[in-house]
Symmetry: C2
DNA sequence: TTCCGTGCAAACGCTTTGCACGCAT
DNA sequence: ATGCGTGCAAAGCGTTTGCACGGAA
C-alpha cells in the first residue's frame, strides 16, 4: 500500500475492483491506530467524499473482513469496531478507567487449546482474550480517592 | 434455592418481589447447564405459563444480571445468552456452526496475568476469554461438504 | 459490454420502552 | 394503598438487503 490513497493494485491482488470508496476507506484505516465503528469511519469518509453512503461503508468493511484485510470485533451491547488485520497475533490489555489499550504480543493459549481439543473433541480455530485492569497512573488516581 | 420453583425468599433477599415469571425463569435457569438466549428461555417458559411475554423475559434477565444472579454474554453477530452466574471462574468454548457452548473449568491465565502486571505495571482485575471452533458433530458435517 | 459496486430507502432481528393494568408487599 | 412488575404493541438501533443506476474491467 502506498500512502497517497491509491490502493488499486492492492485491491486487484485481493480480487476486488478499485473504487474510490474502497481506496478512501483503506487510507482512513491505515491512518487510524485504534479500532473504529462503521459510523466513525463513515463520518471520517464523508469529509473526503460527501456522497459516500453508510451502507457502502458496511459493505466495504464486510468485504475487507472476508478477505482478512480488516478484522471486526464487538463487545457486549456495543457496535462492532473495525481495524486493519493485525500483522501479528496479539491481545489487548484495557484500562477500565482511562480506556487506554496496551497490545500484548505474547499469547499463552497454545498449550491450553491443545488440551481443550483433547478433552472436548472440538477443533479450536480461534480465541478471544482481553485483559482488564487499571494502568499505573489510574491506580494512583484511584488510590488518592 | 429449593427445586420446587419457589424462590420467594431468595428473590426478597435480593431486593426483588416474588412473581411467578421470576420464579419460573429461575427454575428454568437452575435446570439448564449451558447459556441460553432470551428467546430459548422464553420458549421454555411458555410451556409452564403460556401468558408470559418475551419482553418480560428480557426485563427479568436484565434485573437478574444487574443483581449478579445471572450473567449475560454476547458474541459477534449473535444474540446474547444468559446463565446463572457461575459459582466458579470459567470460560466458554463455542461451536461456530451449531452455537453449542461447552464450559471450561480450568483457566490458564493466572501466571500470564502476573507476568503482564510485571511488564506493564497494570493491575489486572479481570479478563475475557472464549475459544471458538467446531464440535465433533459439526466437523463431520463440514467434512461431508 | 458485462457485472460488480454503489446510493437510497426500506426491511431485518434483537432488544428496549411507553402505556395501562394487575399483583406483591 | 402503593408502586413495582407485566402484557402488549410499537419504537430503537445497528446492520443488512432489494433495486436500479453507474462505473471498473
Amino acid at each position: 500500500m502506498d500512502d497517497c490513497g491509491n490502493y488499486k493494485n492492492y485491491l486487484n491482488e485481493h480480487g476486488m475492483k478499485s473504487t474510490k470508496q474502497r481506496n478512501l476507506l483503506l487510507s482512513i484505516l491505515a491512518k487510524i491506530q485504534t479500532p473504529q465503528t462503521a459510523e466513525k469511519l463513515y463520518l471520517q469518509a464523508i469529509k473526503s467524499d460527501s456522497s459516500i453512503n453508510l451502507s457502502t461503508v458496511y459493505r466495504v468493511l464486510e468485504k475487507f473482513t472476508e478477505k482478512n484485510i480488516t478484522i471486526r470485533t464487538s463487545f457486549l451491547d456495543d457496535k462492532s469496531v473495525y481495524s486493519l488485520y493485525p500483522k501479528t497475533h496479539q491481545h489487548q490489555l484495557i484500562c477500565m478507567r482511562c480506556k487506554k489499550i496496551v497490545l500484548l504480543e505474547h499469547c499463552p493459549l497454545e498449550d491450553f487449546e491443545k488440551s481443550v481439543e483433547e478433552s472436548t473433541h472440538f477443533s479450536v480455530v480461534n480465541h478471544r482474550l482481553e485483559l482488564y485492569g487499571y494502568c499505573r497512573q489510574c491506580q494512583k488516581i484511584i488510590a488518592m480517592g
